[in-house]
Amino acid sequence: MRKLLLIMTTIYCFSICNAFAIEINLSESEIIKDQTFINKDVIATFKCPNCKIITATVLGENKNFTLLQEEKNGSKLILQKSFKIKDIPSFLHLYSNTPDFINEADKKIIRAVEGKFSTSYGALLRNYLVEKKLYSLMPASIESNQDDLYKLSFTIPSFATTGNYEVLVKLYDSDGTFINGAKKTFQIKQSGFYNEVVNFANNSPLLYAITSTILAIVLGGIGGLANLDMLRRTKGF
């Protein structure tokens, strides 16, 4: 009898889940941070007939954030203290087609993140992430049309870190019971040459410093010689 009940429940669930199966389409599967990168608009679409409550979350890979306090004082730099906030999403945007509806998983993420933002440094990081449009903790709306096609859009700002990102869509019954979910991932990375330069700067800072100094001297030398050539022509030096 138990087995029969289990089989029936599975069949029921499968049919329901299949009825609400969704496939997310992303306008970008990979975002390359190259010299032309400023901001990148990404659109996620999915079809969902008869769906009641839909939430979506765009999550950036968890990162450790280090805050180095420095005084902005004309041309002067004075580094003072550093503070680390570990393991928080590098990007977090929430969406919902029902005003103020936030799913339990997202509530959990928000609670965890807000807990880490509870210090004064944390509050500064929170402001920074919101200001740079890396975080949007109030759910934005999910647009839909008559064909049950849903659409949400977000912008990847130039301050977004590289790594894996995911778009999570969750469906709920009108009473808030979870029905089904789907996930689609995309990546933000620096292009080959840029990536190599960043790795070089991080792994061999001394060599990088010497290289940048030599480059500066060569460029300065070329510029200086060009100036001399012009001086010679105009003033006969």
């Binding site: 990162k63 041309s75 001394l206 410093a209 510029g223 200086g224």
Partner: protein, 306 residues
């Protein structure tokens, strides 16, 4: 519209308008070549305003300084307006000052004194130098009105008692290399502590303190800043933050154009014009610095994701 000219820079990790970078490079290069200043005091506020963390702005600015001062040095060398002997003592002092500055910064940071102490000391130093420059300029203007000739006398009475007095081509009287090395040392310390070439402290000290001929001043100091900026680039890159080599490229491009304009303009300046222009510049910088020190605007943070 302006986004079209924006370029993403991988180390700074932001997009910046390249026209703005070239323009600020031209301005910095021109001012640097005329007055013998490093130009960090123009460059760094601009770079931080466009969103760069201050430490990246400083190391990138110092990197640009290397190119700019080298370009200026070549022009001044051709114009025969460098006192190499004086430069050598300034460089020796500058190298010692850079190393000393590195230890001072670490000491101040470890004792949590870096911010306030440096800010106040530096501002007072700048205010006193600009007052001296303003006084000198007022004298020039009054003498001009009265038809008198402006004669420079050494303002540093103590310097006359220092040993090892040597003849310098840029000065009509003998100067002790000790005081020149000490001035170079101040520049070296400043380049590490504040990321600025120290030109706007060294120029007035040499001009008003030791009465060095202004024709030689810019070229001689540019050569010193060139060496200290190399050391500073390396120290900053290894200890604090990396310069953005790509961003520095656009700044250097503008600086080279500016250096050409500046070295050309500087040949047209008369001695008195130079001193009045420098005084005006120093007063403006001193007002800005004093405002930032005593009425701080905001606190900036470098945020790094790992």
């Amino acid at each position: 519209m302006f986004d079209f000219f924006s370029v993403y820079f991988p180390i700074a990790d932001i997009s910046v308008n390249v026209f703005g970078l070239i323009l600020v490079g031209i301005l910095t290069g021109t001012v640097s070549a005329i007055f013998g200043l490093g130009g960090g005091f123009i460059m760094i506020p601009y770079l931080t305003a466009v969103g760069l963390p201050i430490s990246t702005a400083i190391s990138t600015s110092v990197n640009q300084m290397t190119a700019g001062t080298f370009a200026s040095f070549l022009s001044f060398a051709r114009l025969k307006r460098i006192d190499y002997k004086m430069s050598m003592f300034l460089i020796l002092g500058g190298v010692a000052g850079s190393i000393l500055g590195y230890f001072i910064l670490h000491y101040l940071e470890s004792h949590g004194l870096a911010g306030g102490t440096l800010k106040v000391v530096f501002t007072f130093l700048l205010i006193s130098v600009s007052i001296s420059a303003a006084y000198d300029s007022i004298k020039i203007i009054i003498n001009k009105r009265n038809g008198k000739h402006n004669v420079l006398k050494s303002a540093c009475k103590l310097c006359q008692y220092l040993p090892l007095k040597t003849e310098f081509s840029s000065s009509s009287h003998h100067i002790s290399p000790i005081i020149i090395s000490l001035i170079g040392m101040v520049g070296g310390i400043l380049v590490i502590l504040l990321g600025i070439g120290g030109g706007f402290i060294m120029v007035p000290l040499l001009l008003y303190g030791l009465r060095v001929n202004e024709k030689f001043l810019s070229g001689t100091i540019q050569l010193q800043i060139f060496f200290t900026s190399i050391i500073s680039t390396i120290i900053h890159s290894v200890s604090f933050n990396k310069s953005d080599i790509f961003l520095a490229f656009y700044l250097i491009l503008g600086t080279i154009i500016g250096a050409r304009l500046g070295s050309n303009l500087s040949t047209k300046f008369k001695s008195d014009d130079f001193r009045i222009g420098l005084a005006l510049f120093l007063i403006i910088i001193a007002i800005i610095m004093a405002k930032n020190t005593f009425f701080p605007s905001d606190v900036n943070f470098i945020i790094k994701a790992e």
